[in-house]
């Protein structure tokens, strides 16, 4: 198992390096020049060349990239071109909010999807199965931001009530702090839940048709034991793989949900940075997201190996 984990870790390093190259280059390929934007605001330099030198953007791109990599290895993500604030400092403040939202969304996705998926598989082709599958299709097809907007607006129109859009710190009011994440996390988790539910149902149905499951039935085991103990563990292997992919999707979704629900996480920070072509911020946030996704997939792979020992060899 240790060898397997080390091997995966080793593979993660080139993945991160390639990702860092993409993360570095892509913002620079966007139309619109940060130097021109900053000069338009007039407060940052006397002319384009002066400003480019000030920002260190006058040097060849590969030199900028190598320097940036060096900075990262020293634990420095650089400074915002606009505010001169360290990117790491900003991320340290905002990351917990995004993570809290993401983790809660994932929690809701699993809690909703797995039981329903199991139930749908066990009651295959029953009205309940059809109803649950229809709900899943709905969850997949309706955009989360639309549900979020309705969830905020309709109660306000009908009853004069809206969920809190003012962020409350944990230290100020722990209950209010957690409560403000519940609705956005639930809605954010719905799309992922729909995908996971369908996969859980599909894989469980496949497993339930395996010979060893038939043997379990013929031994006279109870349905609960056959399904939950003998079948579900194997059915969950692909589901766990997909969960790793869902992490990336959920992290992407936080950008919109943070804006809608007034949560001061990384999403808004990234959105503003893209608009302003604030390269160090875009790079820093994206690198962090890439790292979280890579690490999550690493954990998923390790867990996968735990569930199915054949994978280690």
């Amino acid at each position: 198992m240790k060898r397997y984990v080390f091997r995966r870790l080793f593979v993660a390093i080139p993945s991160l390096l390639i990702a860092s190259l993409i993360v570095f280059s892509l913002p620079r390929l966007l139309p619109g020049d940060v130097v021109q934007l900053m000069l338009e605001e007039k407060a940052y330099g006397k002319d384009l060349d002066d400003l480019r030198v000030k920002l260190g953007l006058n040097r060849p791109m590969y030199i900028q990239y190598v320097e940036w990599l060096g900075q990262i290895l020293r634990g420095d993500l650089g400074q915002s071109l606009w505010t001169s604030r360290p990117v790491l400092e900003e991320l340290t403040r905002r990351l917990p909010v995004s993570l809290e939202l993401g983790v809660l969304a994932l929690f809701f996705a699993i809690v909703i999807a797995v039981p329903i998926g199991v139930l749908a598989a066990v009651r295959q082709d029953s009205p309940a199965d059809y109803a649950m599958r229809s709900m899943a299709i709905l969850g997949l097809s309706v955009p989360g931001f639309w549900i979020a907007t309705l969830a905020i607006l309709l109660p306000a129109i009908w009853w004069g009530w809206s969920p809190p859009i003012q962020f409350t710190a944990f230290s100020a009011n722990p209950w209010a702090h957690v409560a403000q994440f519940l609705l956005p996390a639930f809605i954010l988790g719905i799309a992922s839940a729909a995908a996971i539910m369908r996969l859980t149902r599909g894989t469980l149905l496949e497993v339930l048709r395996q010979d060893y499951v038939r043997t379990a039935w013929s031994k006279g085991l109870r349905e609960r034991v056959v399904v939950l103990k003998h079948s579900l563990k194997n059915a969950l292997i692909p589901v766990i793989t997909v969960l790793g992919i869902q992490v990336a999707q959920i992290l992407g979704g936080t950008v919109i949900f943070e804006s809608i629900f007034g949560l001061p996480g990384m999403g808004r920070f990234l959105f503003d940075a893209i608009n302003q072509r604030d390269y160090p911020v875009i790079q820093g946030v994206n690198l962090l997201i890439v790292t979280v996704v890579v690490v999550t997939n690493l954990v998923v792979d390790a867990f996968y190996a735990f569930l199915d020992p054949r994978i280690r060899y």
Binding site: L30, P31, G32, D33, Q36, L37, L39, E40, E41, K42, A43, Y44, W82, T83, R93, T149, I152, L153, P155, A156, I157, G160, W161, S162, I165, Q166, F167, A169, S259, I260, F261, G262, P264, R268, F269, N275, Q276, R277
Partner: protein, 549 residues
């Protein structure tokens, strides 16, 4: 002489304008505010309002962002300010003393201001409530004019020197006469700041460096969450402000903002300018009994810039043909903010009602361009050598928002009705504002203007050498008229010159001006003596208002 210059981040304000595209006048419209003069003011409570953009930072001399100037309007003062209250007609900018007790013009170029005595800085380090002196004012304007990177410097560019002959007197000497000088001092960027803060913090970007003489003191700033203010107990106007505090909630999503307004989390309309969309009005009226409202024309409006030194726009008949097919009524009808209510703009936005010429006072040649007439446009194009119509590349950005793109679609369809085929090129917002607005485009752009409340600033589009003169106008007659109005102190005569400029410009069509929407300023029924207006002086408007609950 009652217009104040204002300071916005052009990019931010134009974005806002994209949503709020067009509107007019209304001064006293169907939704007129009830004067609260007869009521007895109540002390206490906290105003809660929404801002969708966090401040860039807190140094007013290092940014033009409205998101910075709005919170600073609560904590700082300037020499003169725009009068506020429910009796003030939106779109007018009557000037009154702020730190200045009185002022006089000596000759054409010298202004002397007498300061109020006993004005104290906020009782916070490093000022600790010391008295404000003329030297503070001199320092503020000196820094304003000399600090590198003050994008608002142009507001007081006519100032040659500032002196403090005694403890309570400030003297400004101008390089050349400028009739807009006092109005420009009322701009929401010319705040009087403290040297001690600059010395201590290096600049004024940090929230702790916000120490002013204004009605409220900055208590805390939670980035992307809220900005909190508490009442300044030693504010120099006795009895003011009435409210104990102000909370600006930073919330980006407009639907969430409106929902929070309906559920009573905000005391004022959630959009910029404390307004609500007209399309939301019915719901708001149903949910909030006795909602305070007043409609007024916003300053923003669309405009087209053209390469007037190139074909086909060299020919004024082509420019007029474009103008004649701009169906401003349809634009207003399809806009969620206005739902048909608003006004067409001449050169000076209709929102600046004291200076903008009514369309019916334009010469016939200019006036008829405001009537949708595709057949007339076709005739003009034929006369100009385009009997089969023409095809033109036009650039714009979807970055101004969906309301803007709706207006663009209306324009394209109407141009087509006159045989004008448009090759629409959508540019990314950042790329567009950093190039097209400065004249870097092929033939024509569709964009937005607005944000400043000083009519004179709208003439920069027409002055040779100005970076924003994107059409490349170089008309000596127009230039001379613009300079003449700056030298004319008599309001009546100056208004006449401004009207003449607008009459002349309406016929030349160096730019095509779209409409401005009529927005609805809204506040909860328990908010008294509040009057919405154009500009960012939230502090001034809130200072005289109170909560009756």
């Amino acid at each position: 002489m009652d217009q104040s210059a204002s300071s916005l981040t052009r990019r931010d304000m134009l974005k806002l304008g994209g949503a709020a595209l067009a509107a007019t006048t209304a001064g006293i419209g169907p939704l007129a505010a009830q004067p609260a003069a007869a009521q007895t003011p109540k002390r206490g409570g906290t105003f809660r309002l929404r801002s969708h953009v966090p401040p860039v930072h807190f140094d007013p001399q290092q940014t033009i962002a409205f998101s910075t100037m709005i919170p600073l309007s609560l904590a700082y003062s300037r020499l003169v300010k725009v009068k506020a209250g429910s009796a003030v007609v939106p779109g007018t900018q009557p000037i009154e003393g702020d730190l200045a007790e009185s002022w006089e013009r000596q000759g054409d170029n010298i202004y002397v201001f007498k300061l109020k005595k006993g004005v104290r800085w906020h009782n916070k380090a490093p000022l600790n409530g010391r008295e404000l002196t003329a030297e503070d004012v001199r320092y503020s304007y000196d820094r304003f004019l000399t600090i590198k990177g003050n994008a608002n410097k142009y507001i007081l560019e006519m100032v040659d020197k500032v002196e403090a002959p005694d403890r309570y007197t400030v003297k400004f000497t101008l390089r050349e006469p400028n009739a807009w000088f006092v109005d420009r001092l009322a701009s929401t960027s010319t705040w009087v700041i403290a040297k001690e803060c600059v010395d201590q913090y290096g600049d004024l970007k940090k929230p702790e460096s916000v120490v002013g003489t204004g009605p409220w003191m900055l208590k805390s700033y939670e980035p992307n969450v809220r900005i909190s203010f508490v009442r300044n107990p030693s504010y120099f106007v006795p009895g003011l402000p009435y409210a104990d505090g102000v909370e600006i909630i930073l919330s980006q999503d407009p639907a969430a903002g409106f929902a929070a307004f309906l559920s009573g989390e905000f005391d004022f309309g959630p959009e910029y300018g404390m307004v609500i969309r007209r399309s939301d009005l019915d719901i708001a009226l149903r949910r909030v009994k006795g909602l305070g409202m007043r409609d007024y024309i916003v300053v923003f409006g669309g405009y087209t810039a053209m390469k007037i030194d190139q074909e086909p726009f060299k020919d004024v008949r082509v420019r007029r043909a474009f103008a004649m097919t701009d169906n401003w009524r349809e634009v207003l009808e399809t806009n969620a903010w206005s739902q048909g209510k608003g006004a067409p703009n001449p050169l000076i936005p209709a929102a600046l009602k004291d200076w903008s010429i009514p369309i019916d006072q334009l010469p016939a040649e200019g006036r008829k361009l405001y009537e949708f007439d595709p057949a007339g446009a076709k005739r003009l194009l034929a006369e100009a050598g385009h009997p089969n119509g023409l095809k033109v590349p036009i650039e714009t950005t979807p970055g101004y928002g969906p309301d803007w793109m709706d207006a663009v679609q209306v324009a394209l369809r109407n141009w087509k009705s006159a045989g004008i085929e448009v090759d629409l090129k959508l540019k990314e917002y950042g790329a567009f504002v950093s190039s097209a607005l400065f004249g870097k485009f092929e033939k024509m752009i569709l964009t937005l203007r607005g944000g400043t409340t000083d009519p004179d600033t709208y003439f920069t589009l027409f002055l040779p050498g100005e970076p924003l003169n994107s059409s490349g106008v170089n008309d000596p007659k127009l230039t001379e008229m613009i300079k003449l109005q700056r030298r004319t102190f008599d309001d009546k005569k100056r208004r006449e010159i401004l009207y003449d400029i607008q009459r002349y410009a309406s016929q030349q069509v160096y730019y095509g001006f779209g409409v401005s929407v009529s927005a609805v300023g809204a506040w909860m029924p328990y908010v008294k003596n509040f009057g919405p207006n154009i500009g960012h002086d939230y502090g001034g408007r809130l200072m005289v208002a109170w909560l009756d609950k």
